[in-house]
Amino acid sequence: MSFLELSHVDKGFGPAADRYEVLDDVNLSIDRNEFVAVIGFSGSGKSTLVSLLAGLLQPDAGEVRMNGEVVTEPGPERGVVFQNYSLLPWLTVASNVELAVKQVFPEMSRTERREHVQHFVDLVSLSGAEHKRPHELSGGMRQRVSLARTLSMRPDLLLLDEPLSALDALTRATLQDELVRLWLEDRRTVVMITNDVDEAVLLADRIVPLTPGPNATLGPDFVVDLERPRDRTTLNYDPAFVRLRNRITNYLVDVNAESRQLRVDRAVQLPDVVPADLTTV
């Protein structure tokens, strides 16, 4: 039995008459301590998938199981880094993190708690910005606060919804390395949503593509058997890396073209009418 399992999960939105089916028959099983990257196009249902895993949404059909138990509600053991950061704007960086720490580790003393918070703030290199409020931070800084908040909860399962998308290439690289380091340090299960193939290959043990919506489902797995630690500078010259990246990219391009094809087929046939030129009348 795997650590985390989705079996035949369907999810749609809207009233029954006009239902928009986002996910259709999604199956996925993840082992303990595995790092899985889900890659997909915008609007395909990646965030919906994260919400299902977190327990924020309940599937219409099928089940989400963690440790064999059906997930019915969210909880701190499944930490989420939300795509839009979801920081509380009236709290400072430190207080945002502290809110989570206080709730998850109520037994901590005040000094312990403060150290714990500081540790995670430092971890995402936000030392010095502890007393700023979210609106005083850049998008990337906010994402890092969100990451620090979630990491500080020490969840069993870490759900990252495009956690690095708002960062510039340099910061992004640093944080990617940081993420890997953290993960290697105390291996915990990670599901990361991304739209960057390189990032997925660099970080994950396994990559699962999500087909374009509606009725998105998971495509075939790509196992990343590159050795760790992976060095981003040399990786580009590793033929295995290049091959894998090309395979995934090609798959995504194909699946996207296919879905376009489908969409065109379904398009309404327009009547063949030419507008009259009124200027010559």
Binding site: V80, F82, L88
Partner: protein, 577 residues
């Protein structure tokens, strides 16, 4: 600011000012810069945006832009206001009403000065009443000396009025005499001519052929028309003479003004001498003590018959002594006192309203079922006029306190309010007894009822529109319902709650004046009504003073609420200087 949401020990606000920490060198310039940032922030929080260009100009920042902004934000509004005063000053004397012409700005200003003089004199008298020993004697001596001066001044003023009157009379006579002569001449000529015309028509009746009778009627009508036109001329001449008679020369007006002000001051000084002298607390006390001593001495050696009488009188004097010790000068309500009372009333009502509106608003925001239940009440009660509420509360409060003088609740309320006010700086010296009575309570409840809706609706809106993402955070953290409310829902609703409270306070202030007027509860409303009722020459001006007093206080209250609102709004411009 963070103390609103988090315990104090976690906030290190003093270290958080961004740009300054970078320049740890703390040179003179960085201190100046930090001060500038603090200033700009303060201006921003208090929404006094028009000061911003001034500060920036002082720091030499883009002088041309700042000057343009100063022109736009300070000079032009000032010019507009001055223009308004000018138009007012020019048009007011021409707008005649039953109560005289509309007061000009300067008359309104005089009204304000008169109101404040009255207040200051009353304050002086009440101080004089309580003064003791050499201080009291000094007051009497000074007042007596002043009285002599005033007597002389009063004589001068009277003379000046007399001469001004005479001169005016002579001047008017000089202008009227030729007019009168002209009128007389015109009238006598008119009489003669009228007779002449009638005679001519009469003559026609004999010379004219009988078949053309209509011509006579026509001629008579012509004469009548002519007479009418002549009479109009007479009326016009009389009117212009009347105008001259009614004229008041500026000299006479000034003299009369001086005369009344001297007379008023004289009256005040006389009263002051009394209050600080024979009628002062100290003199009364001394008299009583002396009388008690005397009685006691007599009592020691009195025969049984008169002993009872003496003991009785001693006991009575002792009781009076206690009363006198605690007595103060019975000061009438003056404007500053009424302002304090109005503000107290509006805040009492406002706080009652808020205490009802916020919990209900939160419930409405949390539960759409509850909201649906409450909506009809909001829709029904919100448009009801404050007057109706006041009358209802008047009756209800009257029923609750059938005998206000002996009500213990009112005594406790009065005691609390007076203790708080007496330690408030400035206010403490103005108000001795705020006099919380049923009228006060009815006015406050009216304010509460009329103002609570805005807070309630906005609180409900704020609570209901909590960001779903924040709710998700709470769900992932498994916050208890209470924590969810306190840590997520309320902080995010707070800006709207305060926006609602600001509207409420504005409505409350507007309602209050009407309520006080109707309930004749001491305050600005009652002051206005008293001015209207007593119909002095300057009453109209004093009523106009109230426009500005009420307006300025309302503006200040609004500013205070803006500051609160900005302090709790997290994404507003507060921190982005």
């Amino acid at each position: 600011m963070s103390t609103l949401h988090e315990p104090r020990d976690e906030s290190h606000d003093e270290t958080s000012s961004g740009p300054a920490t970078a320049a740890e060198a703390s040179s003179e310039e960085s201190i100046a810069l930090r001060f500038k940032h603090a200033l700009l922030k303060a201006i921003d929080v208090t929404a006094l945006g028009f000061l911003e260009p001034v500060v920036r100009l002082c720091y030499g920042e883009e002088p041309r832009v700042q000057l343009r902004n100063i022109a736009r934000l300070i000079v032009l509004p000032t010019v507009a206001f001055v223009l308004f005063l000018g138009v007012w000053a020019v048009t007011a004397p021409n707008l005649r009403t039953k109560y005289g012409a509309l007061p000009t700005p300067s008359q309104v200003w005089d009204g304000w000065c008169a109101i404040m003089t009255f207040h200051e004199r009353e304050m002086e008298k009440s101080e004089a009443y309580l003064a003791e020993g050499p201080e009291r004697e000094a007051i009497v001596a000074e007042a007596t000396a002043r009285l002599q001066l005033l007597e002389r001044a009063s004589k001068v003023a009277n003379e000046r009025v007399a001469t001004a009157r005479e001169r005016e009379q002579a001047d008017k006579e000089a202008r009227l005499t030729p007019l009168r002569a002209e009128l007389e001449a015109f009238e006598s000529q008119l009489e003669a001519e009228t007779e002449e015309r009638f005679a001519a028509v009469e003559a026609m009746s004999t010379t004219h052929p009988a078949d053309d009778r209509a011509v006579l009627v026509r001629e008579l009508a012509k004469v009548a028309e002519w007479t009418e036109s002549q009479e109009e001329i007479v009326a016009r001449m009389k009117a212009s003479m009347k105008e001259i008679e009614d004229e008041k020369s500026p000299a006479l007006v000034a003299a009369l003004h001086l005369q009344t002000s001297v007379a008023e001051e004289k009256q005040f000084t006389e009263k002051l001498i009394q209050v600080a002298g024979a009628k002062s607390r100290e003199v009364k006390l001394n008299a009583l003590v002396a009388s008690i001593r005397e009685d006691q001495a007599a009592h020691a050696s009195a025969d049984p018959d008169s002993a009872y009488e003496l003991a009785h009188s001693i006991a009575k004097d002792r009781a009076r002594l206690e009363d006198v010790v605690e007595s103060t000068y019975p000061r009438p309500w003056t404007l500053p006192m009424q302002i304090v009372r109005s503000i107290l009333t509006v805040f009492s009502g406002f706080l009652i309203g808020v205490a009802i509106a916020i919990p209900l608003g939160i419930l409405c925001g949390l539960s759409s079922t509850f909201m649906a239940m409450v909506t009809p009440f909001i829709a029904l009660f919100k448009p009801v006029s404050p007057i109706v509420w006041l009358l209802i509360f008047w009756i209800v409060v009257g029923g609750v306190f059938p005998d206000p003088a002996s009500s213990q609740t009112l005594q406790v309320l009065n005691y609390l309010a007076n203790s708080v006010l007496s330690v408030t700086p400035y206010v403490g010296s103005i108000v001795d007894d705020i006099d919380i009575n049923p009228a006060f309570i009815a006015s406050a409840l009216t304010v509460a009822t009329c103002s609570l809706w805005a807070t309630m609706v906005n609180t409900a809106l704020g609570v209901a529109s909590v960001d779903q993402d924040h709710v998700n955070v709470a769900r992932v953290l498994k916050l208890s319902p209470y924590d969810r409310l306190v840590k997520i829902v309320l902080p995010s609703a707070l800006p709207l709650v305060f926006a609602g409270m600001r509207i409420s306070l504005g409505i409350g202030w507007m309602v209050l004046i009407a309520a006080e007027l109707l309930a004749s509860s001491e305050g600005l409303g009652k002051f206005t009504n008293d001015m209207f009722q007593n119909g002095n020459t300057d009453s109209f001006a004093k009523i106009m003073v109230m426009v500005f007093v009420v307006g300025v206080i309302g503006l200040v209250l609004d500013r205070i609420m803006i500051v609160f609102q900005r302090l709790v709004s997290f994404e507003g411009s507060v921190a982005t200087v």
